[in-house]
């Protein structure tokens, strides 16, 4: 067993080189490199934590903004609805008023026209009477050779016209 049989001649060299090399490992790797590696991990963890927090905050903010936007939008919609209603009512009123005015005008015109028609009809009737009595006088004179008084002719015509 070389571990025992060589012990006396090799222990010093074993101890020396182990301490030298393990010392090197400890100071260069353990003290030099390991803290940096762990730093990197810590930094990354912090970064991730920060990013998560920032993302969470951004999401909350976005939610709030969306909420505000929705509220604003609803308000705007309600406002525009009200405006539309107002305009509709106003327009309806205006139309009604105009219609009324126009109706009044029409009524007047119709009444006028009817009065005119009635007058015209009256005048025409009178004229027809005159023409008819003249015609009756003429016809009687030509046919019977009699001369009748205009009053008589007109009375006869009136009677005929009244009785149809």
């Amino acid at each position: 067993m070389p571990q025992l049989s060589q012990l006396a001649e090799t222990y010093a060299s074993q101890i020396f080189w182990l301490l030298a090399i393990f010392g090197l490992v400890f100071f260069v790797i353990g003290r030099g490199m390991v803290p940096k590696v762990m730093d990197t991990v810590t930094t990354r963890d912090q970064q991730i934590q920060q990013d998560l927090t920032a993302a969470e905050a951004a999401r909350t903010k976005a939610d709030e903004e969306e909420e505000a936007w929705r509220k604003r939008e609803n308000d705007n919609r309600a406002q525009s609805q009200a405006l539309i209603n107002q305009a509709r009512v106003a327009a309806a009123e205006q139309v009604a008023a105009r219609l009324e005015v126009a109706q009044a005008g029409f009524d007047e015109k119709i009444a006028d026209a009817e009065a005119q028609i009635a007058a015209a009809r009256l005048a025409a009737t009178a004229e027809i009477e005159a023409v008819a009595s003249d015609a009756a006088q003429d016809i009687v004179e030509r046919v019977a050779g009699m001369h009748i008084a205009p009053q008589t002719a007109s009375a006869a015509v009136k009677e005929v016209m009244i009785h149809g």
Binding site: F16, W17, I21, F22, F26, M38, V41, R44
Partner: protein, 264 residues
């Protein structure tokens, strides 16, 4: 590897040989020859250094290598936090160095045949109790220094568990003190024995294959092939053991340091 002609000596693999004519290097009368053992310590350290280089890119989004390095540091960090608590963080450099150095030593000691063909034999320096003993003593010293530094003489209360009857205190104290003093030995022997046993077993099985083949082609097939399959399985097991023993060493060191930090 054959010590004598036709004989395979399974212990020969643990022989320490000075390299590069450094037999007579001395400091203060102590021989410090640069041996194959020292060479493989240097190789393990260099390999560990190369491994760590890959973790130094410090990218926000790590690549696989950086991820692997961070997994190891995170693993040691978690172990220390779980066993010692917040105070444990300051021992990460030591425990990490210990764990990774032993792990790399164990694994590189298992490097297989292709290297042996060109005459390079992996040397498992963790199969020497001189080495594991020094590492265990380092941990033991840290425990002592931290314990007395933090708690002064109160550190001795470690040897008297809570609720010990007055009458029993002297006896318990002696027993606990003994179990405390045995720690570095058990720590050192566990790693040394586990590594040596595995390597001896592989060597003996390998010698079976060589011997059976020498006894004839028939014996070589009948004995050699099953043994080869067995060796494959045991090699896999040894890789597992290499990791487990490194972890056990680091974990026990952590637990001992915890005693010094927090008493109990």
């Amino acid at each position: 590897m054959a010590a004598e002609a036709g004989k395979v000596d399974p212990m020969h693999q643990f022989t320490i040989e000075p390299l590069f004519g450094s037999n007579n290097w001395e400091i203060a009368g102590f021989n410090i020859a640069f041996t194959n053992s020292a060479l493989w310590m240097a190789i393990a350290a260099a390999a560990l250094w190369l491994f760590m280089i890959g973790g130094m890119k410090r990218q926000l989004v790590p690549n696989r290598w950086q991820m692997a390095v961070e997994t190891f540091t995170g693993f040691i960090d978690d172990t220390l936090q779980a066993n010692i608590g917040k105070e444990g963080r300051k021992y990460v450099p030591y425990i990490f160095s210990l764990f990774m150095f032993i792990l790399f030593a164990n694994l590189m000691g298992l490097l297989p045949l292709p290297l042996a063909i060109v005459g390079v034999h992996p040397f498992t320096f963790t199969s020497h109790f001189t080495v594991t003993g020094i590492l265990a003593l380092l941990t033991f010293l840290i425990v002592l220094v931290v314990g007395f530094w933090k708690h002064g003489l109160h550190f001795f209360s470690l040897f008297v568990p809570h609720g010990t009857p007055m009458l029993m205190i002297p006896l318990i104290f002696v027993v606990e003190l003994f179990s405390f003093l045995v720690r570095p030995f058990s720590l050192a022997l566990r790693l040394f024995v586990a590594m040596m046993a595995g390597h001896v077993l592989l060597e003996i099985l390998a010698s079976f294959i060589v011997d059976s083949a020498n006894a004839g082609a028939g014996w070589g097939l009948v004995i050699g092939i099953p043994i080869m399959v067995l060796m494959l399985a045991i090699s896999a097991l040894e890789i597992l053991v290499a990791g487990i023993q490194a972890y056990v060493f680091a974990l026990l060191s952590t637990l001992y340091i915890n005693d010094a930090e927090n008493l109990h």
